[in-house]
């Protein structure tokens, strides 16, 4: 998009108008919690002026959407929770600040599972986000069957989560790029179901300051885009050390591997980890996986099978570490300084006020994890659960270190087990079971802190996106993007065209 703006084939106003129109068209999908047209109008003015004056910045005029768990100054940031329904931050998250400073135009804040706890964008106080695929909003010119193949008419394909709003916003073209956050797959999972690029950079490469945390040690701000080019532009703008986040690093990326032409890929080795061939993996995904592996081999990559023996423990490990950090992080939501405040005559002690605030304003999944986390952290349980989980995490991390050390440069795996499920199918399972299915392939990258990317590959029989995942060693994000870029060109995934209002 940036390229088109800069070479003049499309003006800022045209692009903005197109996106603003699509924001309206896709309203029924519930991708946005809040559309920020007052803000975006001002930003549009400035961008227009800058294009006239020739003083454009890196992201000048690019329409963006931000998941509603990134703090935006003077713009309500809800985390899709009753707790923060009226929370207006007085500051911008570092990533938001960097995007706005480089000229991006904020279209709105997008829907998510409450506090990011979910994998369908079905657990929001604002209602679920619906996938644009399979909806009746796609123009027929695309030759895509847009009928919901489910039984009930009010059923729909889920967007995936928890960054489902951002994924749908990008898939529908209501913005060029969007920010999500990825703790166990929350960027890659909806990207996979919505047919967009979903990039979780290396832990430590992007500031978390202003991202309302889920699991601090795994959260990474992620990028959703239609193209690897757009994704890379955003990454260039938002990456890098931030004094406000002590866990960010200023690392010079591996220059020797960057900026390679396709002819140089023949030196690279692609690993196919056998543990990702897991129960429940659909035959369509398996076929896509095989085909893309062949494609890479034919493009000059060396493709080998590798083993990451502790992969299947990742979910169990996550189901301890996640609640522990959640229990801790959520302790601040007591309703005293901000957030939901219960009223009632019976609230005659600090404890009863806390209890009322928290039980009224946090959903059952959130409360369940708080309870579990506090249980795991009890003195008598700490070694049994938390320490064990940390050990497991180390084993998973070590799997990757060992595997990379054998000369593997990139991994190719599934990202979700199938194309997008129907809402009715998805909600049959409880939150833990959902997570076990949805996060199986994405979770390990968060444990290891490595960069991972979901790339749309082709359409399933149901005309829904099928995607695959690429992973690279820690801080080798550039190689990951290079390989993804090459595949993108080869695969030529059909992006949908949204009907005009």
């Amino acid at each position: 998009m940036l390229h088109q703006l800069k070479n003049g084939s499309c003006t800022v106003q045209e692009l903005y108008a197109q996106c603003a129109n699509r924001v309206q068209v896709i309203k029924s999908l519930n991708a946005y919690i809040r559309v920020t047209d007052e803000v975006s109008q001002v930003q549009l003015q400035e961008s227009t002026t800058r294009y006239l004056k020739g003083t454009t910045r890196l992201m000048e005029g690019i329409p963006i959407a931000i998941k509603d768990n990134f703090c935006t100054k003077n713009i309500t940031t809800t985390c899709a929770s009753k707790m923060l329904e009226n929370f207006v931050p007085t500051y911008n998250a570092t990533v938001v600040e960097r995007l706005l400073d480089s000229g991006a135009i904020l279209m709105g804040k997008t829907n998510l599972d409450e506090f990011g706890m979910g994998s369908g964008t079905t657990e929001s106080i604002f209602g679920p986000t619906k996938n644009i695929w399979g909806s009746n909003l796609i123009s027929k010119a695309n030759d895509i069957d847009n009928k919901v193949s489910g039984s009930q008419s009010d059923d729909f394909f889920i967007a995936g989560g928890s960054s489902g709003g951002s994924a749908v916003a990008v898939a529908a073209g209501s913005c060029s790029v969007a920010l999500g956050s990825d703790t166990g797959g929350s960027v890659r999972n909806p990207a996979s179901y919505c047919g967009v690029v979903g990039f979780k950079p290396s832990y430590g490469s992007i500031s978390r300051y202003g991202l309302i945390p889920l699991v601090n040690s795994m959260d990474v701000p992620g990028i959703l885009a239609r193209t690897i080019g757009d994704c890379r532009s955003v990454f260039e703008v938002i990456k890098g050390c931030d004094p406000k986040d002590s866990t960010t690093l200023q690392r010079t990326l591996n220059k020797s591997k960057t900026k390679r032409s396709s002819s140089k890929f023949d030196k690279l080795c692609v690993g196919i980890p056998k543990e990702f061939y897991c129960p429940g993996l659909s035959s369509e995904v398996i076929d896509a996986w095989k085909d893309v592996a062949d494609l890479l081999e034919n493009s000059g990559f060396r493709v080998i099978q590798v083993s990451l023996p502790h992969t299947s423990y990742s979910i169990a490990c996550y189901s301890v570490l996640n609640p522990c950090e959640v229990a801790s992080n959520m302790a601040r939501y007591d309703g005293l300084r901000y957030g939901y405040r219960a009223t009632g005559k019976d609230l005659n002690s600090t404890e009863s006020l806390y209890a009322a605030n928290r039980s009224h304003a946090l959903n059952q999944i959130v409360r369940g994890r708080i309870l579990a986390g506090n249980y795991f952290l009890l003195k008598e349980n700490y070694d049994k659960y938390f320490v064990q989980a940390l050990k497991l995490r180390r084993l998973i991390y070590d799997d990757y270190v060992k595997m990379w050390s054998t000369g593997v440069d990139i991994l190719l795996t599934p990202v979700t087990l199938s194309d997008a499920p129907l809402f009715s199918e998805f909600t049959e399972k409880d939150s833990r079971a959902q997570s076990a299915d949805q996060d199986y392939c994405t979770q390990p990258a968060n444990m290891a802190g490595i960069p991972a990317l979901s790339l749309p590959v082709r359409l399933s029989k149901r005309n829904l996106p099928l995607s695959l995942q690429l992973m690279a060693p820690h801080f080798d994000d550039e190689t990951l993007l290079d390989v993804a870029h090459l595949l993108e060109k080869e695969l030529n995934f059909p992006h949908p065209t949204v009907k005009v209002a």
Binding site: A327, S328, R337, T350
Partner: protein, 527 residues
């Protein structure tokens, strides 16, 4: 200014002179308590929270200032706004490192931060960032002297081991105003850096605890790493107390929290020891509980809301990297050389160089009298150190104390003071004349000491004959007393000596004078 000095100002003069024992408990029936305590041993361990003297807080850029308008020093992080992250204040680490080295601790080159969870209205995040598992420093010790004014006890040296020194956040403050229905919360203090010092249970009573904390205060003040204003809460003490029969293991302990004066520290510990003994002697049991000290009633009370067993659900703080001194480019050896001369070293120096007693050394070091003393000693050669100490510690400090002043505010400069002592040493003036001279100069007389002596006619008469004449006059004027003395009533000498002193009018050496009188009385007696 030393908070210890401030507290002493309101005490009778003798208490000031005799030191810390002075601020001791009166609420207990001491005699009875002492009797009870004979059959028991008491064990006291301290936990001290010292606010680190840095311009900003431990993990945020807000200023660290006492008595600012409520909630005026609160950053987004301090009130736990979602999405904010802690950033470690390097200056706080430097201060804690210097303190750890001064307290003879082993410094951990890599330490870690943990979250300690509990819900409290003035704890915005629902957890405190602390260093539970791997603190900045451990295994140190503090040497100090216990100076008891109790007649039968001499001063003695003592050591308390330090288990660990950890960095942590302070909480905010809850104010329970009666005028409004709820509580008010001030977060100015929330997030201020604390050094928590955990001492081993090495002490036995309130007196030792006060001596230990006083020494810690002097040390931190010398290091300039803490204000140590207990009344403002910049240094707070928790005391763990238990009693046991000799030869038995430690008893169940109770914890008295948030003691914000040395007086409260002493009283609460001694109260608690006696309370525990009474409970046990009546066949009761001590429960492991947190107690608060009520300074009005001078008793400790169980804090009911904390009775429930707390589980802090510690977890590593995921938003901070391990604290690596090397990464922060902090080399402990650079800090070791920055440690100033500490009170314990000063006392040792005074005792070795000037042959002072431990008691005198303590008095000189406490209240920072030592600098004045050393200046005096350096002003003139060969001054009699005993005379310097008595004139300084008894006379000068006495005058200062009446005016609620410290030695640092004294108008007599050390050179003038040295001159007075030299006049005594050279038998130019008598001891009592030196006291008068001191008073005059103290009150602002600008004349040179020698000039005062001359103009006031205080020059000492060193003529044995004149002295003998005065003594004879006393003997002749008091025939009854003289007779009584000669009959064996030795006590009567005191009244004769008093008359002699009056007659001498500060112009004679009183030692010589009384000896002369005694000699004359004895001479006749033997005849």
């Amino acid at each position: 200014m030393n908070s210890f000095c401030k507290q002493r100002r309101n005490l009778p003069f003798w208490m000031h002179i005799t030191g810390i024992r002075a601020i001791f408990t009166k609420s207990l029936d001491l005699a009875c308590a002492q009797e009870k305590r004979k059959n028991w041993e008491s064990v006291v361990g301290l936990e001290v929270h010292a606010q680190i003297k840095t311009s900003s807080k431990l993990f945020s850029g807000s200023a660290n200032k006492f008595a600012s308008p409520a909630n005026s020093l609160v950053s987004l992080f301090d009130c736990a706004i979602p999405g904010t992250l802690p950033v470690l204040n390097k200056k706080a680490v430097e201060a804690a490192l210097l303190t750890a080295l001064a307290l003879n601790c082993n410094v951990n080159l890599v330490s870690e931060f943990d979250r300690k969870h509990y819900f409290y209205a003035d704890m915005p995040a629902g957890y405190q960032i602390t260093q539970q598992r791997l603190p900045l420093a451990s295994d140190g010790y503090l040497d100090f002297a216990v100076f008891s004014s109790a007649v039968h006890k001499a001063a003695y040296k003592k050591q308390s081991k330090i288990k660990q020194l950890q960095l942590e956040q302070d909480s905010g403050k809850s104010l329970h105003e009666e005028s409004c229905s709820g509580s008010l919360i001030d977060l100015n203090r929330a997030g201020v850096g604390l050094m928590e010092l955990v001492f081993e249970p090495d002490l036995k009573d309130g007196e030792e605890a006060v001596a230990c904390v006083s020494e810690l205060i002097r040390t931190l003040e010398a290091l300039e790493t803490c204000d140590c204003k207990m009344e403002e809460g910049s240094l707070r003490v928790d005391a763990n107390i238990s009693v046991n029969k000799p030869g038995e293991t430690f008893g169940t302990r109770t914890e008295v929290k948030n003691l914000n004066s040395l007086r409260a520290l002493a009283r609460s510990i001694d109260y608690e020891i006696v309370r525990q003994i009474e409970v046990l002697e009546k066949g009761g049991k001590i429960t492991n509980e947190t107690r608060g000290y009520d300074p009005q009633q001078k008793i400790t009370l169980s804090m009911r809301d904390k009775e429930e067993k707390q589980d802090y659900r510690y977890m590593p703080e995921p938003n901070l990297l391990p604290l690596s001194l090397l990464q922060l480019k902090l080399d402990p050896s650079d800090f070791r050389v920055r440690i100033p001369v500490l009170p314990e070293q000063e006392r040792t120096m005074l005792m070795e160089k000037y042959q002072l007693s431990l008691e005198t050394a303590i008095q000189l070091v406490n209240g920072r009298n030592i600098d004045y003393f050393l200046n005096v000693m350096d002003s003139l050669p060969n001054l009699p150190v005993k005379k310097v100490c008595s004139l300084l510690l008894t006379d000068l400090l006495g005058l200062l104390h009446k005016d609620e002043k410290t030695i640092q505010e004294c108008q007599i400069n050390p050179r003038q003071f040295a001159k007075i002592v030299e006049l005594v040493k050279n038998k130019k003036i008598s001891h009592s004349a030196s006291q008068n001279l001191l008073l005059l100069l103290y009150r602002g007389d600008l004349r040179h000491p020698e000039q005062v002596v001359e103009e006031e006619g205080w020059t000492m008469i060193n003529d044995p004959k004149q002295l003998e004449a005065i003594c004879k006059q006393i003997i002749s004027e008091n025939p009854k007393s003289v007779a009584a003395f000669r009959a064996g009533k030795a006590k009567i000498f005191k009244s004769l000596a008093a008359q002699l002193k009056k007659e001498c009018n500060d112009k004679y050496d009183m030692g010589d004078a009384t000896q002369t009188l005694k000699r004359l009385l004895e001479e006749k007696k033997n005849v």
